[in-house]
Subunit: 141 residues, 2 copies
Amino acid sequence: MHQPEHLKSAGLKSTLPRLKVLDLFENSKERHLSAEDVYKQLLASGEDVGLATVYRVLTQFEQAGLLVRHHFEGGKSVFELNKGDHHDHIVCLQCGHVEEFHDPAIESRQQKVATGLGFAIRDHSLHIYADCTKKKCPHKR
Amino acid sequence: MHQPEHLKSAGLKSTLPRLKVLDLFENSKERHLSAEDVYKQLLASGEDVGLATVYRVLTQFEQAGLLVRHHFEGGKSVFELNKGDHHDHIVCLQCGHVEEFHDPAIESRQQKVATGLGFAIRDHSLHIYADCTKKKCPHKR
DNA sequence: ATGCAAATGATAATCGTTCTTATTTGCATT
DNA sequence: AATGCAAATAAGAACGATTATCATTTGCAT
């Protein structure tokens, strides 16, 4: 159990709801979870947390750098553990599974384009929405 | 005035609110407008349209292919006239202005990456959030 | 001019998220 | 181990964007 230290070093008190949420992200099958996902999974595990707390904790974790927030289509925010690397996302239109990728060529082109237009990149997001080409979509929800 | 034909060919009755909205997109300074933007500008022009109608019309125009919808950060949908071309967006963090660009190298890399992972791209969005590097941001709201 | 389906406007409802506030908890100090 | 207090929580109200409901109005073919 090394989670309390994670929280401590992030300047966050080691409370039960925070440990539960962090644990969920570290042990969940899907890397990408919405606030609703987190809330429901905690309730299903018998944990008794409030939805407002989930939202607060997710935002705090994002600010602390423990989680990264993404805005996929559909409006709702989705979070994932911050592995320290940057990557883009392919969202499967069939099952909603999110696959990650990183392409240095794309990244450097973005820099060139932005610089050429007189902008300094602060952040960017590349989302590809696609169909899995295998006969049966392998990513069960 | 060629707008009524636009609507007709899209299978939409030529009504006053729809003409107003279409006209606004064709004559507005900013290419990218939210439902709220459209509603407020119509009210400001003395036109009396309902907010619900604006939302409905925007969605219909999107489905008819007259407008394209984008989801920038901040949650709300933004629309622009469909010019038929695909392009990506740089959003100025200072003033909210949206600049468009198209980079074939990025596009082709995306195809390669998606194919390599076993996906067929249906749609994608690349949003760069950046600061304008000129001393004074030239894009006044 | 007439009729009727389609479109509108006002408003209620919904969804994701944030705010408010009274209560509870973590944890440092006795 | 008991105490105190700031920080964190839970419940529900509030919020902003969007969608649904429904009675009224409008476009347009007859």
